[in-house]
């Protein structure tokens, strides 16, 4: 049995189904991310695991024990909230020590453990300060320290990076990844930021409207998204997804034909469907390609440049890593990397290739 199991868990709030028949298996070594837009049910899922909410249906197991209706304190979980929830009237030391104080651990031992945890999280010199006297990044470490000191079965982190400014966030992200490797137990992480999810996770579950749409490694989610929602949610700039008509293996997009027979799909959509391709998998040139269009806008971002190309009615974003000699209004050809091209059927579900399991 996996370390943490959610089996067909459903949670309703009055008439809204916040979590809809979610099943997940999380291993002990996983850094498992629940990823999705706000209101998708990811935080509720986390709270169900914590025991702050109880499911209407389904079962939850932690470390082989059925904890579905157990109170949080009987689950041995540690949670870090988005606002860190550090107690403003306690010093950093008292905040970190609090879980052990509640568990009536002897004073000597508390002192030793606080010193050790503070050392490993590099906050030893902050112990006598109050939370409002330290920076956001330091507050986050204190909140993590308060979780680490509990030696829980699982760490539950609810958007712990979103209160930090952009630069600090990248730094804290690396720190968190490093820390998670030393924790020795699973971390469940909630975020709406796909880049955080990609950078940190061993596994990602993409959620929308209470459903889990896909579970996989970051690579799997990125390379073989289960449907158009996952495809467009992951990646920045997001995947180009355009509606087109299919005539056998030929895709007709804004009146232009693309031959997709080399994709070896299980089957092609009957009539309507979508094709999707990531901006970095399109090449631009002035002579020949799969499609022809007109440069709409060029946005240099330093390392890369985003070129938006307009066809008749749809438009595609292209990521270019060399110098861009084009300007708005130029006539331009687009060449697709066919092995990176995805076809989605009318309902948005990705059509698999014959060689995929």
């Amino acid at each position: 049995m996996s370390w943490i199991v959610l089996d067909n868990v459903t949670k309703r709030f009055s008439n809204v189904v916040a979590v809809n028949r979610v099943s997940l298996k999380i291993e002990r070594q996983d850094f498992f991310t629940l990823l999705g837009p706000s209101g998708c049910g990811k935080t509720t899922t986390l709270r169900l695991i914590a025991g702050l909410e109880f499911p209407d249906e389904g079962r939850i197991y932690i470390a082989g024990k059925d904890v579905t209706m157990e109170l949080p304190k009987n689950r041995n979980v540690a949670m870090v909230f988005q606002n860190y929830a550090l107690y403003p009237h306690m010093t950093v030391r008292e905040n970190i020590a609090y879980p052990l104080l509640v568990r009536k651990v002897p004073k000597k031992e508390i002192e030793k453990k606080v010193a050790f945890v503070a050392e490993s999280l590099q906050i030893s010199e902050l112990l006598e300060r109050y939370p409002q006297q330290i920076s956001g990044g330091q507050q986050q470490r204190v909140a993590l320290a308060r979780a680490v000191i509990q030696t829980p079965n699982v760490f539950l982190l609810d958007e712990p990076l979103s209160n930090l400014d952009a630069k600090l966030r990248i730094e804290a992200r690396s720190f968190l990844k490093r820390l998670s490797m030393e924790l020795g137990t699973s971390v469940i992480y909630v975020t709406h930021d796909q880049s955080e999810a990609m950078a940190l996770s061993t596994k990602i579950a993409v959620m929308n409207q209470g459903h889990v749409l896909q579970v996989g490694t970051p690579r799997q989610i990125y390379d073989t998204p289960a449907n158009t929602f996952v495809a467009s949610f992951i990646g920045n700039p997001p995947m180009n997804i355009v509606e087109c008509r299919f005539d056998g293996p030929t895709c007709i997009l804004d009146g232009q034909k693309i031959d997709l027979s080399e994709l070896a799909l299980i089957e092609f959509p009957k009539e309507r469907g979508f094709i999707g391709i990531r901006p970095e998998n399109i090449a631009l040139n002035t002579k020949e390609g799969d499609l022809v269009g007109e440069v709409y806008v060029v946005e240099p971002l330093g390392f890369e440049t985003v070129v938006t190309v307009k066809l008749n009615t749809s438009s595609l974003r292209v990521l270019v890593f060399e110098d861009v000699p084009y300007k708005s209004g130029d006539r331009i050809f687009l060449k697709f990397r066919k092995d990176k091209l995805h076809v989605f059927d009318e309902s948005g579900v990705r059509v698999r290739r014959r060689d995929e399991a």
């Binding site: 702050l52 949670m79 909230f81 609090y98």
Partner: protein, 291 residues
């Protein structure tokens, strides 16, 4: 320097009406009370027209006046029982019990606010009717369940006005504490919950430290209000035999029943000083907390 929204002249001009009202209705009477407290002025008779200046003679008399000490003792008991323990304690309990229970909270709040908004005279008659020796609702109920009737106003006069004042004033404390609880981020309590803190620990370690300043504010206000309240007069008239004679009632009796305006004013001045001392005490508490 901070620039104000309006020019200095405009500010002064706009303040004049409010300041002149405060001066006419608050400062002037205050000074007047101080002044006549040092005279032997009476409400009628010769000394009403030509009072003599007597200096601190009134104050010396007050300090050996057993009615004054009786009134002070009853007032302090009344403040302790009905305001500090009753209104603040019960208000906090109600606020905690209804925390994050929206329907229950709005129901309880409506009920306690009802007791707060009914005019005083009406409330007094409601309670007289409720506690009447022979036909009062409470005694009817008591005798219906086989207990003997109790003459509340004679046997437990102080307790009666204390309970009356708790009933009357708990709404304010409850509203204040409910609002204070809302300022605590839910994640504070949820963190404690996940850690496994007991209900008592959650109150002691998380809730109380975060609403301490609200509790102090509430105590300042209700202590001062209760110290000066006059409504129990409508229930008991200060009796029987002065057992519910609060300081405010004693001042009234001295000045307007016995017509000793000067003497009454000197007691009022002492009451003012006690109020001032109490306010300073609470304020010093709240300052010390912040340091």
């Amino acid at each position: 320097m901070k620039r104000s929204l309006m020019g200095r002249k405009v500010v002064v001009f706009l303040l004049i009406p409010a300041l002149s009202l405060i001066f006419v209705f608050l400062i002037l009477p205050g000074v007047w009370v101080l002044k006549i407290g040092m005279t032997n002025e009476t409400l009628t008779g010769a000394k009403a027209r030509n009072p003599d200046f007597v200096g601190f003679e009134n104050y010396v008399k007050v300090l050996s006046d057993r009615f004054f000490y009786n009134a002070l003792r009853i007032t302090l008991l009344f403040v302790l029982g009905s305001a500090i323990i009753g209104q603040a304690g019960l208000g906090l309990l109600l606020a905690l019990l209804t925390y994050r229970k929206r329907r229950l909270k709005s129901f309880v709040q409506s009920v306690v606010i009802l007791a707060w908004i009914i005019p005083e005279v009406v409330v007094a008659y409601l309670w007289i009717a409720f506690l009447d020796k022979d036909y009062g609702t409470l005694n009817v109920i008591l005798s219906a369940i086989g207990l003997s009737k109790i003459n509340w106003f004679y046997e437990y006069p102080l307790l009666t006005i204390i309970i009356f004042n708790i009933w009357r004033g708990t709404a304010y404390s409850m509203l204040l504490f409910s609002a204070a609880l809302e300022t605590i981020p839910p994640s504070y309590l949820e963190t404690a919950e996940v850690i496994g803190a007991s209900t008592w620990r959650k109150f002691k370690d998380v809730v109380f430290p975060n609403i301490k300043s609200y509790i102090l504010t509430d105590l300042i206000l209700i202590t001062l209000w209760t110290f000066n309240v006059f409504t129990p007069y409508l229930l008991t008239g200060g009796g029987p035999s002065f057992r519910t004679e609060l300081l405010s009632i004693y001042i009234y009796r001295t000045a307007f029943r016995y017509f000793k305006l000067g003497y009454g004013a000197s007691i009022a001045t002492i009451a003012l000083l006690i109020n001032f001392a109490l306010a300073m005490f609470y304020l010093s508490l709240s300052r010390r907390r912040k340091a």
